[in-house]
């Protein structure tokens, strides 16, 4: 079934959408410092940080549509019986879909970073940027994928995802335990450590990574609750 889903993602242009939004993120990472900070030239390290900022601040909007589209298409096309005949549970379905999106996005990000590396003649920040960007995007896939299981309509899924995104930004601003709702948000301490890493070369303390780990754990728990909550209605929704 993984093979089938991979092929579907090519034919229904999901992979093209991923490549496009990833390219848009890299372009915004380059363009925004020129327009907002009125700089005349951009260094490699600053460009990598600027692109990281784009992924964290605009990623939900950029990757929300493609994720919802990839999931909601099966409700719209009435395919859920097909999966149930193959004994694919909602959990397995969700994991296959997320894996496909994640693997294809890994390739897109790696490709983007390689091109940037060639242009700047340096791969110094390739690995760190790769890990940071993919971690940020992975959380969008987890959240939007789970939300898209709840709603039959692509537009409602998108709307609910945006409401979640805005709510998480507001909740994070309260600090304390609330910071785990959007671990990569600029208001969290991880962001300022990443900034120091790119601007001054100061390593991010290992303890700072506990926040994303806990944040991902919480997201996965929420996703699992949604998945098990929708398991009985999943086939019905796709009829």
């Amino acid at each position: 079934m993984f093979y089938l889903e991979f092929k579907r993602s090519i034919h229904n242009r999901t992979i093209i959408y991923l490549m496009t939004v990833t390219a848009v993120a890299f372009v915004m990472g380059w363009a925004l410092p020129f327009s907002l900070e009125h700089i005349t030239a951009i260094e490699y390290n600053y460009y990598m940080f600027s692109t990281y900022t784009v992924f964290t601040q605009f990623g939900f909007l950029l990757f929300g549509f493609v994720t919802s589209y990839f999931f909601n298409k099966d409700y719209k096309d009435k395919n859920t019986i097909f999966y149930s005949c193959f004994k694919i549970s909602v959990l397995k379905y969700y994991m296959i879909k997320i894996s496909i999106l994640f693997i294809e996005e890994l390739i897109c990000i790696a490709g983007g970073l390689l091109i940037v590396g060639v242009l700047f003649d340096s791969l110094e920040y390739f690995l760190s940027s790769f890990l940071l960007y993919t971690a940020v995007v992975f959380q969008y896939f987890i959240v939007v994928g789970a939300i898209s299981l709840i709603f039959k309509s692509l537009l409602i899924s998108l709307g609910a995802s945006i409401i979640y995104w805005i709510s998480s930004i507001v909740i994070v601003s309260f600090g304390g335990i609330c910071k785990y709702f959007a671990v990569f948000d600029a208001s969290n301490s991880l962001y300022s450590h990443v900034e120091k890493y790119f601007s001054q070369g100061i390593s991010v303390p290992a303890a700072e990574f506990t926040e994303p780990v806990i944040g991902f754990g919480l997201l996965l728990i929420i996703a699992l609750i949604i998945i098990f909550g929708t398991s009985k209605k999943w086939i019905k929704k796709g009829l």
Binding site: M1, L4, K7, R8, H11, D77, N79, F82, L239
Partner: protein
């Protein structure tokens, strides 16, 4: 397949009340009914309650953003290759262009592929919901031939054919039922059912 005191409703609207009906094994059980009486909801409810039922209708689709070749690979991995190829040959779909995605094939070819996939799962009860709707005569006859042959070779299976198309009744022998007045009633012959369906028995 026997339904006893079967009730069905949707959003407080009654569709079937205390229905007692038996559908025969080894036969194609045709169910006629006017639009809006709840035939498709009946099919969906049966399928959702019983894992041994498959439905071939407009709401049970095969993903269409794949090529036939890709789908065939998945089917061969799960089912016996000879079985897949045998059904392909009966359905006359062995010659489909394997590089074109299913979405771009004709309605008839897509319908045949759907029949191929859902029949392979070999469920005991097969519900056909408007399976020849909007198909040309040649494709409809190929589908009739397939199900006539299929039920002969599988006498333990039950096929329910929900239809508006009276040609289905003329080309596939079986038993005849009318879905109306919150009930499913059996009729002894095709002529009586068609007469009642078209003229209301007058």
């Amino acid at each position: 397949m026997k339904l006893s005191n079967f009730n069905l409703s949707i959003e407080n609207k009654k569709l079937l009340t205390d229905v007692n009906v038996e559908f025969s094994e080894g036969k194609i059980n045709h169910i006629l009914g006017k639009n809006g009486v709840g035939k498709s909801i009946f099919a969906k409810s049966l399928m959702l309650d019983n894992e041994n039922i498959t439905v071939i209708g407009s709401y049970s689709n095969v993903p269409e953003d794949i090529t036939f070749n890709e789908l065939r690979k998945v089917l061969i991995k799960k089912f016996d290759m000879n079985k897949v190829d045998h059904l392909c040959s009966i359905l006359n779909i062995s010659n489909i262009d394997e590089k074109i995605i299913l979405k771009k094939l004709s309605d008839g070819q897509r319908q045949k592929i759907k029949i191929l996939v859902f029949l392979l799962f070999d469920k005991d009860i097969i519900i056909l919901d408007e399976v020849t709707n909007a198909l040309d005569k040649t494709t409809s006859y190929e589908i009739y031939e397939l199900f006539n042959d299929y039920i002969k070779k599988n006498p333990k299976k039950v096929i329910l054919n929900i239809t508006h198309n009276l040609s289905d009744l003329n080309n596939m022998d079986g038993e005849y039922y009318l879905f109306e007045d919150y009930d499913i009633k059996k009729y002894s012959n095709r002529k009586e059912l068609i007469d009642l369906y078209i003229n209301g028995g007058n």
